[in-house]
């Protein structure tokens, strides 16, 4: 019987990469990012990628590595701040970016994974986002038609996963990973802990294994914090207002 388990990121990408392909990657900012897979993608040198994700890394981290290696031709994202290389490339016309409202991007990916070719949303009506798109009224309100998104390859990061590909995410590291897992022609998952079937509670699995074709235990997670915000311990009483 074929196993979904691979020894590392490089092995897990073997045979999946080709020039001009579309790749989705999970993460919000640098939270819940498939760090090992992104480095293996950089090391592969595969070119002319279209990359779909909420962000495209930030300076020195995440998808920034693939970007600065000149491998990305086009980006679909909702926010690309804190990434000087990308901003510079974009302003110089060195890269194409299609900006999507964050919720529209999330829903387009969910739709792609769920076999829904298009849906309507109020988001973006009357703005640049609606340009060139079909608009239409439902119950007197204007909506924009948005299409589902799929990818040749989806890269996701989970906290725990079992050898069957069942995944559990941790806190806000969940973000775009669950939808992206459903929208890849092939989905590869990296996990902090790889466990045996039966160790994850069936009621608490966020991504069922059907969506994951390959899985491996990631290593050396950096989990870089973009904006470390803390409060001094003595200010506890005041800080707990909400």
């Amino acid at each position: 019987m074929t196993s979904k388990v691979y020894p590392d990121a490089a092995a897990s990408l073997e045979g999946l990469l080709f020039q001009g392909m579309t790749i989705m990657a999970g993460g919000f900012g640098l939270c819940g990012v498939p760090e090992n897979l992104i480095l293996a993608l950089r090391n592969s040198g595969v070119m002319d990628l279209t990359v779909i994700g909420n962000n495209v890394g930030c300076d020195n981290h995440g998808m920034w590595h693939v970007l600065t290696n000149g491998q990305i031709k086009k980006v679909l994202a909702s926010y690309v701040g804190e990434n000087k290389v990308l901003e510079q490339l974009y302003m110089n016309g060195g890269i194409e970016i299609e900006f999507n409202p964050q919720g529209t991007l999330a829903e387009r990916i969910r739709a792609g994974g769920a076999g829904i070719p298009a849906f309507y949303t109020r988001t973006g009506y009357g703005t640049a986002v609606a340009e060139g798109k079909e608009t239409r009224q439902f119950q007197g309100e204007w909506h924009v038609m948005e299409t589902g998104l799929t990818a040749d390859l989806s890269l996701v990061k989970a906290w725990k996963g079992d050898t069957e590909g069942n995944l559990v995410y941790r806190k806000t590291a969940r973000n775009f990973n669950p939808m992206i897992a459903t929208a890849g022609n092939v989905t590869v998952a990296e996990v902090e802990e790889l466990v045996q079937p039966g160790e994850l509670e069936p009621d608490q699995i966020h991504t069922p294994g059907i969506f994951v074709q390959r899985i491996f235990k990631g290593t050396q997670y950096v989990k870089y914090i973009e904006r470390l915000t803390t409060r001094p311990r003595q200010a506890a009483a005041a800080g707990e207002a909400h």
């Binding site: 926010y79 970016i97 409202p101 964050q102 919720g103 999330a106 590291a173 207002a241």
Partner: protein
């Protein structure tokens, strides 16, 4: 005396009601989190996938897997829950968030909002702003009344690319507060900062607006 940033946030906090689920943008809106009136319960949503956003962690206790939509490290509360970005924006788009308080670059008298890009400048993307203004039933914008140049930001028509049309319900600046009827009824000045006169706010505003009878 115009309102300070804290006073603007405090004015926005008066929009909170018991039981509300609220999404706060970055900047002045974030200050509202510390101004929830006593005796009411407000749950803060972070659009990257969390309800029940808690305060910043103690020094040394930050968790890289727990950030808000501004990428800041935060904490969870006993009633917190996590969910995917698709579920999060389902919540927003579906009208389940009661109130969103956001920053703005320009607002017009019909409630149009521009707050995501300036042509020719670095474009970072709209993030979740377009979804929030389209989906949340009550949108409050908190912004400076004028540009540094003195040019009015509350306008007849926005000149910057829009975030949404007819979406702003309340505009709060350092000079006062305007209720905007996003169904086409126009804007009404409903409050003036202490010491700010009607003449001053009129001279610094391009938008047409009515004046609430108690201020006229």
């Amino acid at each position: 005396m115009a309102w300070t940033r804290e006073e603007m946030a405090a004015r926005a906090a008066r929009e909170l009601r018991d039981g509300y689920y609220v999404n706060l943008g970055v900047g002045i809106p974030t200050l509202v989190a510390n101004m929830i009136p006593p005796g009411i319960k407000v749950t803060l949503q972070s659009e990257n996938g969390m309800l029940g956003m808690g305060p910043f962690p103690y020094e040394g206790e930050a968790d890289p897997d727990l950030i808000n939509a501004g990428k800041q490290t935060i904490t969870e509360l006993p009633h917190s829950s996590y969910f995917s970005s698709a579920d999060s924006f389902g919540m927003i788009r579906g009208g389940h968030i009661n109130l969103s308080i956001l920053g703005g670059m320009q607002v017009n008298e019909q409630g149009d909002l521009a707050n995501w890009m300036v042509p020719g400048k670095m474009i970072k993307g709209m993030g979740g702003a377009m979804d929030l203004v389209a989906g949340v039933p009550r949108v409050v914008v908190v912004m400076e009344h004028t540009e540094k140049s003195g040019a009015p930001k509350f306008k007849r028509q926005c000149t910057l690319p829009l975030t949404g049309t007819a979406v702003v319900d309340l505009l709060i600046t350092e000079l006062g507060a305007f209720e905007i009827d996003s169904r086409g009824g126009g804007a009404t000045l409903i409050e003036l900062a202490d010491g700010v006169g009607l003449d001053e706010i009129q001279s610094k505003t391009e938008a047409h607006f009515r004046v609430c009878s108690t201020l006229a």
